[in-house]
């Protein structure tokens, strides 16, 4: 029983990381109907910046209580600038182009960011400075660490904040209006360009938070950590219903749990025929199955148009 509980905990932590990243995809998709392939790379940038800044600050003797918020702030700033720049340079000029065009640039931007990061930070893995003393707690025979609890809490708070922003503020209303119908929202006096920019700002700031959490949890950051993570988070967003914020939350947590339980039990379930080598397949299978049979996802109200 403790094994099952442990696998659920593993899955929920992994899932809350997926959920945080999935939010970025779902927000942009909701408003632009664009798969922002580069979002995973923004998370990577957030991780790399926060690790480098934190390492530099702690090496200079700055106390952790100050260094950690500063590193997060630096990551947020860099991610927001990158995100807005990407939107301005690569997506906005193509807003009325055929659908394939922004998708291809999105892939291009993703490759560019990855390789720029590689040239800037090198191919070495960066290690997250050991600023948080890991404490392990025993819960009914399973273990939870303080870092895991922190991740869960931060992810929950961030998502709560985002829901408030979208449902309770003027900006949020403008976002929802733009998502429903960009042209009409524009006619109603919503500055569509600003709303889209704001979406990228919020999404990139979330990516920075996710980057910091991921780097601190796994202890490492690397220039190619973003792509697969991005794909999985996108699958999570699709599972929950793309364009739907609670959906991203649900999809992320579910995907995390599915991967965890899948990797843990697939060997026993299939009598050893399949093993944990197929752990990465679940996300893609979910992606294909959901898109093919229920493109609106679990919570999506919007009926995704089929061509």
């Amino acid at each position: 029983m403790d094994v099952l509980l442990q696998q659920l905990i593993n899955g929920l932590i992994l899932g809350s990381l997926y959920a945080l990243v999935a939010l970025g995809y779902t927000m942009v998709y909701g408003i632009l109907e664009l798969i922002n392939f580069a979002h995973g790379e923004i998370v990577m940038v957030g991780a790399m910046v926060s690790v480098s800044v934190l390492a530099a600050l702690t090496a200079a003797g700055v106390p952790v209580a100050l260094a950690l918020p500063l590193a997060l702030a630096a990551a947020v700033v860099v991610c927001v600038v990158t995100g807005v720049l990407v939107e301005r340079v690569a997506y906005r000029p193509l807003r009325n182009a055929p659908r394939l065009a922004p998708l291809i640039t999105a892939i291009g931007v993703s490759i560019v960011l990855q390789n720029l990061a590689m040239i800037f930070w090198g191919r070495q893995y960066l290690s997250f400075p050991p600023v948080i003393e890991v404490q392990v707690y025993d819960v009914l025979g399973a273990t939870v660490s303080n870092v895991q609890i922190l991740i869960f809490v931060v992810a929950a708070l961030t998502m709560g904040g985002l829901l408030l922003l979208v449902n309770r503020t003027r900006l949020g209303r403008a976002m929802r209006a733009t998502a429903q119908n960009r042209e009409v929202a524009g006619l109603m006096g919503v500055d569509v360009n600003r709303v889209i920019a704001a979406t990228f700002i919020v999404g990139s700031a979330l990516a920075a938070v996710a980057g910091l959490l991921i780097a601190s949890y796994y202890g490492i950051a690397h220039y190619n950590m973003g792509f697969i993570l991005g794909l999985k988070a996108f699958s999570a967003a699709v599972l929950g219903g793309i364009g739907n914020i609670p959906g991203a939350l649900l999809g992320g947590l579910l995907l995390g749990v599915i991967e965890s339980l899948g990797a843990g039990y697939i060997g026993d379930l299939t009598g050893g025929f399949l093993g944990s080598h197929y752990q990465d397949i679940f996300a893609f299978l979910i992606l294909i199955l959901v898109l093919t049979f229920r493109p609106s996802g679990l919570l999506g109200e919007r009926v995704a148009d089929r061509a």
Partner: protein, 361 residues
């Protein structure tokens, strides 16, 4: 006149490996072989992306299927050594089958969903190839399959040097002529397809699917056909790759390979066959050209600031973005497509955009 031009071209193509060898060394003959291979692959993907306007990010899966099909049936893996000429079309057929298998449920999806689903499919195929060494060893897992039989023509293995009419032909030279023949066949097939009824139906779907359907085109079948044709060429390229290289492993079939082939199509000019050929040749040569970037940096700024190997993918990414922003028709666009994408008459643009807008809503 036209015949004379053809004659000159033919002589040039036949003499090319010897010219290249004399000028640049035999290494470049091997690079030329790879260039041909990528021309075939890029032309295959061009059917899907360029003709029918469906973004396929998992194209490498079909390439992998073709390569592994040949590798498994013509290597010590199962002790089977079936003949190349039988396996090559069968491999292409199997790849075609996989294309239909993937396409049937997914082609209803809208463009960007389709792209991401094909990407997932490509990864799934790679993961299976990487892990199907147990419980039954089919693909030999991450170790890959080695000692794959070379192409044989009349009992002669193409990797061995041979003398024909007093001319010494090395392995890469012989492969060049084989690949050239098949590339010409693929080019011919692509041209015929483009100008057939199906080709026009693809173009119609690409431009406006709703209108195409209204005109009585059975869009799903026609799209499926594009997928199947593209996959077939991918499988063909895979079989040739396996026989030429003698070794396949899942590492050769990553997402980056798919993106590189896509890059060839986009850079050269989506939908325009000469452009795609140009794109494939240019991008195959790129890594070789980048070898000189290191010494060049050394000379100009006194040190190697950026490792040339690191530049390759960066350039691919930059090329994708720049081409889509400033020259969506590609380096060598088809005259018609160029007019569509870059009309001189701004009124026409507005008019077209409005009509597109109407169709989309």
């Amino acid at each position: 006149m036209a015949w004379a031009a053809f004659g000159v071209l033919a002589v040039l193509l036949i003499a090319l490996p010897f010219l290249v060898e004399a000028g640049l060394g035999r290494t470049w003959v091997r690079i030329l072989d790879f260039a041909m291979l990528y021309v075939m692959l890029a032309l295959g993907l061009n059917i899907v992306v360029g003709f029918a306007g469906l973004l396929d990010l998992g194209y490498v899966a079909f390439y992998a299927v073709g390569a592994y099909f040949y590798a498994i049936l013509a290597s010590p893996q199962f002790g089977l050594h079936l003949p190349f000429w039988a396996l090559l079309p069968m491999g292409a057929g199997i790849a075609c089958f996989f294309g239909v298998l993937l396409g049937t449920p997914t082609l209803r999806l809208r463009g960007d969903y389709l792209a991401i689903v094909t990407l997932g499919f490509g990864e799934i195929i790679r993961i299976f190839l990487n892990n199907l060494n147990a419980p039954v060893n089919v693909t030999n897992g991450p170790q890959g399959i080695n000692m794959i039989d070379p192409v044989r023509i009349g009992g002669h293995a193409l990797t061995r040097p041979i003398e024909i009419l007093g001319v010494q032909l090395s392995g890469p030279h012989a492969h060049y002529y084989l690949f050239l023949g098949l590339t010409l066949f693929v080019i011919f097939a692509a041209i015929r397809l483009q100008h057939s009824r199906i080709g026009r139906a693809w173009a119609a779907i690409r431009e406006d699917e709703v209108a195409a359907e209204a005109m009585g085109i059975h869009t799903r079948n026609v799209k499926l056909l594009a997928f199947a044709m593209g996959a077939t060429f991918g499988g063909l390229g895979g079989g040739l790759f396996a026989a030429f290289q003698g070794f396949v492993s899942p590492e050769s079939f990553t997402l980056m390979e798919s993106i590189m082939i896509l890059c060839m199509v986009v850079l050269g000019g989506m939908g325009h066959i000469p452009g795609v050929i140009l794109g494939a040749v240019l991008l195959t040569m790129l890594p070789e050209a980048l070898r000189y970037v290191g010494p060049l940096q050394q000379e100009l700024i006194g040190r190697v600031a950026v490792d040339p190997a690191d530049l390759r993918m960066l350039l691919f990414g930059v090329a994708l973005v720049l081409v889509m922003l400033f020259r969506p028709q590609g380096l060598w666009p088809s005259p018609m497509r160029a007019r569509e994408l870059r009309p001189d008459n701004p009124d026409q643009v507005r008019q077209e955009q409005e009509s597109l807008y109407d169709a989309e809503r």
